[in-house]
């Protein structure tokens, strides 16, 4: 046990040992002001907790009984709606400074760097609003279905919640996720690079049930318009083929409870595999029509700029993509030794078939373990063992889906789409690990 302190997971004394000798020299010469400031902070934040110090007799964490072992705890229902531990406050939705000027038309990103499995806690589901969110009174909320239907109809929440429901797990990803990185690295962590991504169990009624109910003209009506009840009354065109597949849901439930207000309470559309903007929140109306609508968010925004200056319209599918969530940008490895590389993979075209991981920047790859469940158009968790030898490394993941499509690298994607698009960036993400253990966001060809 002489070498106890070198075991994986054990903090080394900060800050000097996080840096190579060369790095320390640079800091001492004052040539890396940022790093020097960071280390000033580090000495406070990274100081060894007393509990980690192992004395001759053993650890204080074991030898000295803590208050929770020696006193009475709190009663039931002290928190009628339970909240995370006070020690988990770091993992919250956050905005990317400077991305937008107005909070009501902005994004709050999901902290993917700290999440496990495939389900996103409802309180951490990413937010994207176009004109602010409301806590809509469900008793006054209505869903109207009109257009090419025999009977234009109105449904209350009572009506919708009486109909036979289904519950399905699906990812939702904003079309602009990773959009800041088309041209170059722009953000430090996976929360900001990939955090417009969440996955939940949604409960609701297949839209097809409601369209059948109203007598939709499926021959002429090959498109639907979904419309929200908020100020923006978000509208998006969706192909009838998706509705007919039974996958599109008029959902009120999320992870066992009602939708959160920020996610469309009491009703939102669920369009598996399609970008989040089409999952219209506070859904008030479905119109069946014979042509697309070219709404603002399919004519001015959510259009993909191509190198020749043209824009692709009605780009909707979120193609196969993956990202390593830990170790990831902005994190630090604590020591050499064993690490579990863990991440998420997803495809708007179906199930994930495999995920490969590289630790040398894409020269060699190993197949990762896919954790169950592996569901169509849902996040899939992958894990793979890695022993870090303390040398520089570049971590990448590459997913393939059941159609045989393989997630492209930046070089391949840019060769077709250029660098001026905002949307549908599904390129392979690279995280660089340096000898100090710091992990940072890089782009690799």
């Amino acid at each position: 046990m002489a070498n106890r302190d070198a075991r994986p997971g054990r903090l080394r004394p900060a800050p000097e040992n996080f840096l190579s000798d060369a790095d320390i020299q640079l800091v001492q010469q004052g040539r890396r002001d940022f790093l020097r400031k960071a280390l000033l902070g580090a000495s406070a934040a990274m100081a060894l907790p007393a509990a980690h110090a192992v004395g001759e007799a053993g650890e204080a964490a074991i030898l000295e009984l803590p208050p929770w072992s020696t006193s009475l705890g709190q009663p039931v229902a002290a928190n009628p709606y339970g909240m995370p531990s006070r020690f988990e406050r770091n993992l919250v939705r956050r905005e990317s400074p400077g991305l937008t000027r107005v909070g009501a038309s902005s994004v709050a990103f999901t902290p993917l760097q700290g999440l496990f499995g495939i389900l996103t806690p409802s309180g951490l589901h990413f937010e994207r609003h176009h004109q602010g969110w409301h806590d809509v009174d469900p008793a006054r909320h209505r869903l109207m279905i009109n257009g090419l239907v025999k009977t234009a109809s109105v449904f209350t929440m009572d009506d919708l919640m009486r109909l036979p429901p289904v519950s399905r797990i699906h990812f939702i990803e904003c079309g602009a996720n990773t959009g800041m990185e088309w041209g170059n690295v722009a953000v430090p962590t996976v929360q900001y690079s990939h955090g417009m991504l969440s996955c939940s169990e949604f409960t609701g009624v297949p839209l097809r049930t409601l369209l059948d109910f109203c007598g939709a003209d499926y021959r002429k009506g090959r498109y639907i318009l979904a419309e929200g009840a908020d100020g923006s009354s978000m509208t998006r065109t969706i192909p009838m083929e998706l509705v007919e597949s039974g996958e599109v849901l008029v959902a009120y439930g999320m992870n066992g409870e009602m939708l959160r207000p920020e996610n469309g309470y009491p009703l939102r559309l669920v369009v598996p595999g399609v970008q989040g903007v089409s999952w219209v929140k506070w859904l008030r109306r479905i119109e069946v029509g014979d042509a697309p609508w070219a709404t603002k968010d399919e004519s001015v925004h959510y259009i993909d700029m191509m190198p020749d200056g043209s824009h692709r319209q009605y780009t909707s599918v979120q193609e196969c993509k993956s990202v390593i969530t830990t170790p990831s940008g902005g994190q630090m490895l604590l020591d050499r030794g064993y690490y579990n590389i863990s991440g998420l993979a997803w495809s708007g075209r179906g199930r994930i078939r495999r995920v490969d991981v590289s630790t040398d920047g894409g020269i060699n790859w190993r197949e990762a373990r896919l954790e169950t469940p592996v569901l169509s158009k849902a996040l899939t968790r992958f894990n793979i063992d890695w022993v870090w030898d303390g040398k520089p490394a570049i971590l990448q993941s590459r997913a393939s889906d059941e159609t045989g499509y393989v997630q492209p690298g930046y070089g391949q994607l840019r060769a077709v789409r250029g660098t001026r698009s905002i949307y549908h960036n599904n390129a392979i993400q690279s995280w660089k690990v340096v000898e100090s253990g710091e992990v940072s966001n890089v782009q690799v060809l």
């Binding site: 956050r94 109105v154 923006s232 192909p239 692709r312 492209p408």
Partner: protein, 351 residues
């Protein structure tokens, strides 16, 4: 839309006979929409102008509406980049002739304005009607929507200054939209039927065909982009954005005591953010509107300052700080307005 009105009407006139078979499976669920209900909500306007209401508005009338209700966010000439991306700019007479915006091809314009991108004039009508103005959407009459749109089209030099836009001539305007030929749908990201089957797109054929190479896939990785040093702490202290247990820690990027961009909070500043005030005002710096510090300095000594500012917030104002109008803040409750005014006059501290 007339089809749906007819369908709804037919359903009401002959309820018992007309109910679709599928509805029989769920008796007691749902009801037919009345024609008035459908009219109230079915406000969308398609590129073929289905759904376009009758009406008319001149450029001149549009300017009046614009300056009162739109200019505070978008700038007097629709050029402002302060709150939202610019609406007008970057298009030329040649673009109007060709239907392709040259600046998108050449990359000459750093900003992509709305007029550079939008291909269909119906989109603008639909969006203004459904979602504008920002704090009181759906409050413009059809005539005012025509007028505002005429004003914007004039700023983009698509229509002359003496133009009146109406439901009869909007099709002619469509033929002059600068980027009307700039959209394409021949891609694989439309999840419906392909163009060959009467839908759109190529049926899902992807852009890239990557191969899952496993060993010796390239000689060496080439790092082409890293986060610049000045951006390292732009997202706050990353140490405070990661769990304090587990296999990693967050990297400290801000000296202890630095401010991380945590969301939420209580107090007047959070209220001002939540109610959209900070979209146009800064505490210490002038944005679209005056800085709160400047407002406090101007009014603090006046006995009726609170009442005057309250009234300005409720009814709007213009002229004191420049030509850009402050729109009425009808979406904010009275007690909240009072709280905000007191906070501003007291020095707008971030507490």
């Amino acid at each position: 839309m007339s089809r749906c009105f007819e369908a709804a009407l037919a359903a009401i006139l002959s309820l018992g006979a007309c109910v679709a078979t599928a509805a029989d499976r769920y008796p007691g669920v749902g009801r037919p929409a009345t024609p008035a209900e459908v009219r109230a909500w079915d406000i969308d306007v398609r590129p073929d102008f289905t759904g376009l209401p009758k009406g008319a508005g001149t450029v001149e009338r549009g300017m009046t509406v614009w300056e009162a209700q739109c200019a505070s966010c978008h700038g007097v000439f629709g050029e402002s980049n302060e709150v939202f991306t610019p609406i007008v700019g970057g298009t030329t007479a040649d673009d109007i002739a060709s239907g392709r915006v040259h600046a998108l091809v050449s990359g000459a314009s750093p900003q992509r304005t709305t007029m550079m991108k939008v291909a269909t004039v119906s989109t603008l009508f639909d969006y203004i009607q459904r979602a504008m103005p920002w704090t009181s959407p759906k409050s413009l009459s059809p005539d005012d929507v025509y007028a505002v749109l005429a004003y914007l089209l004039n700023l983009a030099e698509i229509v002359p200054a003496d133009f009146e836009l109406n439901e009869r001539n909007i099709g002619e305007v469509q033929a002059r939209m600068p980027n009307r030929n700039g959209m394409r749908t021949d891609h694989g990201l439309w999840p419906g039927a392909a163009a060959a089957q009467g839908g759109m797109g190529n049926g899902g054929k992807p852009d890239t065909k990557s191969v899952a190479c496993m060993t010796n896939c390239k000689p060496a990785p080439q790092v082409v982009s890293i986060l610049p040093a000045y951006a390292q702490d732009a997202h706050g202290n990353l140490a405070e954005q990661n769990r304090s247990i587990g296999q990693t820690r967050g990297k400290p990027t801000v000296a202890a005591g630095g401010v991380a961009p945590a969301a939420g909070g209580n107090g007047p500043l959070a209220l001002a953010q939540a109610r959209g005030c900070m979209a146009c005002h800064g505490v210490a710096s002038k944005l679209v509107g005056p800085a709160y510090d400047d407002i406090a300095a101007k009014y603090r000594a006046q006995a009726d300052a609170e009442a005057r500012l309250l009234s300005k917030l409720k009814t709007g104002g213009q002229g004191v700080w420049g030509t850009v109008a402050m729109p009425p803040q009808a979406h904010v409750q009275d007690d909240e307005l009072r709280q905000l005014v007191r906070w501003i006059l007291a020095g707008a501290q971030a507490r």
